[in-house]
């Protein structure tokens, strides 16, 4: 008995680069998927056994970890933040490159030495990843969880520093912030649910197809 496969893709940053990758792996979504006006959340593809869902990046990991979706594409920042035990990341898709970094106001950075930190207050979308990073280097991190616009937190006194994704650094610069520490390099990964990977041969075949799509 072959279960249908739900493929979760993230809204936003990675999606544009992910579509060519999907088609190279043999999955072409129905036209409504790329239609900006469509309010649908689930889409058919050229394959009868594969449907796409478009959800927030953080939810891609959650859907796949719970087995509600069997396979997905998401940034390694999200994978690291959740650290779900039921998630495999068997293919580095080599797209959506950026880094996750600590940033602080430029005037503060001028006299700041990250080596001497013992306690930091950080506004971030990534509280677990931030806490783990700082505790590994012996710094206690007090995290304020935000869902966006981290860059304005320091200027409004919500926190002295932020941890966020940085690609060009332009947003930081516009908000008077500078990058002081890189936590990790980020790229998009193919993720699969552990049980689906083991029990559904079609999921394993898709992983192979993406491996070939990246290499080719």
């Amino acid at each position: 008995m072959q279960q249908p496969i739900i493929f979760a893709v993230p809204k936003g940053r990675i999606l544009e680069e992910a579509l060519p990758m999907l088609s190279r792996a043999g999955i072409v979504p129905e036209p409504a998927f790329t239609d900006g006006k469509s309010r649908a959340l689930k889409f058919a593809t050229n394959r009868a056994d594969v449907s796409l869902i478009r959800v927030r990046a953080f939810d891609v990991a959650t859907f796949v970890a719970h087995g509600a979706a069997q396979i997905g594409i998401v940034g390694s920042d999200v994978i690291d933040e959740f650290d779900y035990s039921e998630l495999y990341a068997p293919v580095d898709l080599d797209i959506g490159h950026c880094r996750i970094s600590v940033a602080e106001p430029a005037e503060m950075a001028a006299s700041d030495d990250p080596r001497s930190w013992s306690h930091v207050r950080v506004a971030t979308k990534y509280p677990n990843l931030t806490r783990k990073h700082f505790s590994a280097r012996g710094v206690q991190a007090e995290c304020v969880k935000l869902n966006g616009a981290m860059e304005i937190a320091p200027s409004l006194g919500l926190s002295s520093r932020i941890v966020d994704l940085v690609s060009s650094g332009k947003t930081l610069q516009e908000n008077g912030l500078v990058e002081v520490e890189v936590i990790a390099e980020v790229s998009a990964r193919l993720i699969v649910n552990r049980a689906a990977f083991k029990t559904n041969a079609a999921v394993g075949a898709l992983v192979e197809a993406f491996r070939a799509a990246v290499d080719g």
Partner: protein, 354 residues
């Protein structure tokens, strides 16, 4: 506390789920009993030291408290396997090997995760102590599969692994970080030398061929031959996969480990493998049946027959002997509907309620 709120991860099981639970435990234990695995009962709580000593269970995973009688720290069991090992090494230490034992009962985890929110689980299993040969491993995998089939589990997938693979390839080095990355199949974080291990996971025949190709030095030949021999002895109606770097729940296993998946639930329903306990080799398996109950397994049709007031006791006994569940009216106001009955006794015959 009048709302009946329970602590996170604990639950009541009402009819008919509680019945289904008992039926699943029974199906598994009856099957393993038919292979000679005799049931033992171990205590719900023990001294912390004896629960953590046997299989390297961390005390941080146990619900602990101070025993007011002895002043020692006690803990509620989080896994019955270690308790079976303790029995085999002490009170049954003089029995000829191998010893075959089975068990079933609740276990408690200190913490739950978002993916596995339950903290109390029903664990059922069997252990073969004194031997971890290919024959022993084949027997344990066979009874595990048979027991789950008897419980009504469909579309079984058996996923095999080599728990001590990395330690065999890299003896004497600190491999914790590498193992964690391989377990997560986090390809970007795995050194290139080991990436073939991630790609090797899959259907058994292809996976073992890839693993043999990876093992150019021949370090793994004995182990791979042994796994091949185990698979050769298994029933053909089970899908077999091999994942050489699987680590989920294989903290203490040695050369051989397995997980069992089914169509009913995402996540494994059972796992087992070879290990050493008290200096002895052993092979065993455990199944956690709660997800199967939630998937609706072992729920039989509820055929309850309402006996109006005045039904003769002999008549009721005869109906029960025919297999009916009889629910007797005890007062005038009682009705078949109130007692959730499917049938009512009228004119001396069970009649379905429309």
């Amino acid at each position: 506390m009048t709302t009946g709120l329970l602590p996170t991860g604990f639950r009541d099981r009402l009819p008919p789920e509680a019945d289904a639970s008992a039926r699943l435990v029974r199906a598994v234990l009856d099957t393993v009993a038919s292979f000679g695995y005799e049931r033992v009962q171990t205590p719900l709580a023990e001294f912390e030291a004896s629960l953590t000593g046997a299989l390297g269970t961390s005390s941080r995973d146990l619900l602990r408290f101070v025993d007011p009688v002895s002043g020692e720290t006690m803990a509620i069991r989080s896994d019955i396997t270690g308790q079976i090992g303790r029995i085999a090494a002490t009170r049954m230490g003089h029995h000829p090997r191998p010893v075959r034992l089975s068990y079933g009962g609740p276990v408690v985890k200190l913490k739950a995760t978002q993916l596995r929110p339950e903290r109390e689980m029903m664990q059922v299993g069997a252990e073969l102590i004194g031997l971890d040969s290919v024959a022993a491993a084949t027997e344990v995998v066979t009874i595990a599969l048979e027991a789950l089939k008897a419980a009504g589990v469909k579309d079984l997938t058996l996923d095999l692994t080599l728990p001590d693979l990395i330690d065999t390839l890299l003896p004497g080095t600190d491999t914790a970080a590498l193992k964690a990355r391989l377990d997560a199949k986090d390809i970007a974080a795995v050194p290139a030398d080991f990436q073939p291990l991630v790609a090797a996971a899959g259907p058994f025949a292809e996976a073992i061929a890839r693993l043999r190709a990876f093992d150019a030095r021949g370090v793994l030949t004995d182990r791979l031959d042994a796994i091949d021999a185990v698979v050769a002895g298994l029933p053909a109606d089970v899908r077999v996969t091999l994942d050489p770097t699987e680590r989920h729940g294989f903290e203490y296993q040695s050369w051989f480990g397995f997980s069992i998946f089914s169509a009913h639930t995402s996540g494994e329903i059972g796992r087992g493998g070879s290990y050493r306990i008290g200096g002895e080799p052993a092979v065993g398996f455990s199944a956690y049946i709660d997800p199967l109950i939630d998937a609706g397994l072992a729920q039989s049709e509820r055929r309850r027959l309402f006996l109006p007031l005045g039904t003769l006791p002999q008549k009721a006994a005869a109906l029960r002997a025919e297999g009916w569940v009889t629910v007797a009216a005890l007062h005038d106001g009682d009705s078949a509907e109130a007692q959730i009955c499917t049938h009512i006794l009228s004119n001396g015959r069970p009649t379905p309620i429309a």
